[in-house]
Symmetry: C2
Subunit: 348 residues, 2 copies
Amino acid sequence: MNDRNGNRNGTHPKIEDVARLAGVSTATVSRALNATGRVREETRLAVERAVAELGYTPNFGGQALASKRTNTIGAIIPTMENAIFARALQALQETLSESNVTLLVATSHYSPQREEAQLRSLLARGVDGLALIGIYRSEIAYRLLDTRRVPFVILWSDPAQSTHVTIGFDNQAAASDVAERVIAAGHRQIAMISGIRDGNDRAEARVAGVAAAMQAHGLVLPNNWLIEIPYTLDDGEQAARQILTKTPRPTAIVCANDVIAAGVLRAARELDIDVPSQLSVTGFDDIELARAVSPPLSTVHVPHRRIGSTAARLLMDWIITGNRPNSVTFPTAFMARESLQRLEVAVT
Amino acid sequence: MNDRNGNRNGTHPKIEDVARLAGVSTATVSRALNATGRVREETRLAVERAVAELGYTPNFGGQALASKRTNTIGAIIPTMENAIFARALQALQETLSESNVTLLVATSHYSPQREEAQLRSLLARGVDGLALIGIYRSEIAYRLLDTRRVPFVILWSDPAQSTHVTIGFDNQAAASDVAERVIAAGHRQIAMISGIRDGNDRAEARVAGVAAAMQAHGLVLPNNWLIEIPYTLDDGEQAARQILTKTPRPTAIVCANDVIAAGVLRAARELDIDVPSQLSVTGFDDIELARAVSPPLSTVHVPHRRIGSTAARLLMDWIITGNRPNSVTFPTAFMARESLQRLEVAVT
């Protein structure tokens, strides 16, 4: 990234400079930046590029100033339909509510393009702060955050992987720990069903963690035993079916979240493969589902609610004091339940 | 309810009238109505009472006018941690997003007091419209909605039970249908685990529906076989344990939602009671959990996403055209899965 206030000649760039560089009128620049939606996509992109290039800061033009709070915090999450985000959002909202601050919610469906559009829309509304998920976004998105000078926190990622204020945990270490336990239980034939890694640092880190643990024990994760799918029960079931109907069959499947693992349990049941005596399965997240399925899932407990409430507290502190807070790393915990069993027991 | 514009002498009541009746200053009235939080609870209540009595409409004082849209819609739901509300909210937000409208989210934890506080807060922000859950709220809350003249829709309830724009379904008929099917499968010893009925018309209607169907067949729902609990897995498990460890034992348990039913399955497993051969269990909602548990739950499919997207569309139409839309009743569907079995089969 360039110099944060990176305009070329040391003076504050004006809206006229942006208009000239983008080849549009100042009114169009204004419309594009305020996300009123009456601007063609290519024009908007040209304006954003000019804004990024010049380091133009619309704040100076009279937009949300530090002294002019809106008492709203924006959150952009992949989807509310994943219980982990719903939980965090609930805690975020409850904690903000204590300060009489309202939560604006938008979703991205794991798409950086949609996140960028939502980001622009929330910034145009003048939110006091933002909670975002994960570290991957476009340079334009980071630039927008920079130029608007809105406090923002990143949730779910490993704080060690980001220069921004991050409230999360070490996804790679947690996934390594799961694989270590599966290996310690005697398993050598291990498959993994992962989330889509592209654009998702948490999914990426979890695969890296499992692969690293296996490698440390001289094991490999074969390509046909590593399947990437969206985080749904149906996709999990289908991926498991693909793995379990071929020979050789793994004795354990490590899943990137509990929803996928629940899908694996369904596939195993339909294929008459007993879990855990014939197949061990692990999840990640420890949502309610993990204890509702049969057998209950061995999984990684992630403190979703504390991530949400901490985000609210740090954002409010930052907004009120103006002091950027430090990142927070939460510990995770392996929850040993019936779905993971020693291979020796399984064989007898 | 009184006359909608019910001020006494035909003139528009002024803020001074409210202040006089409430025995406070006009500045206090303003603070109370704008929910800035610097007003004592009893003062705020006195102001609200005066506003309700006089039919005072703060809009005339310069608050959100129809012509001055904020492009935000507020939603107050019981909790995001229940998948049914998360799903509807997701669809609501996605549909609003197409119109470049942002969603403000607040939660009430099924408390009318908290809903009223959240309502006041959202109204003070000048939302263009509101989505609320269920028909039960205080007269003050309804009065607030009336006087502010903000379009609002009620979700989840039976439109026949409300004079307001309602997007929902006939909870009682759907629950009756479940009970009819349980009875048709030969069950006579039927228990029900319900949500908390107080303040929740959906929970109330579901119990009424089950009781009516049983009564039509000359059956009674004994008091000790009707347990009201919060909608959680742990509470469901505990309630089931209470019912299943006593003699006589029911042959079927009808649950007011899928989460409770998943708890019943857990209790049955721990008590070594086989579902469905020794006990039938039904849920309500058809969330992902219903198909993830073992055996999969017979349940009522509720179109949560369509409720959310319809709410968004009706609200936007109403806001843009000024014409109040009609209520919408969605059909529900019974999903027959393994957890409900014929009693004859179970006995052999």
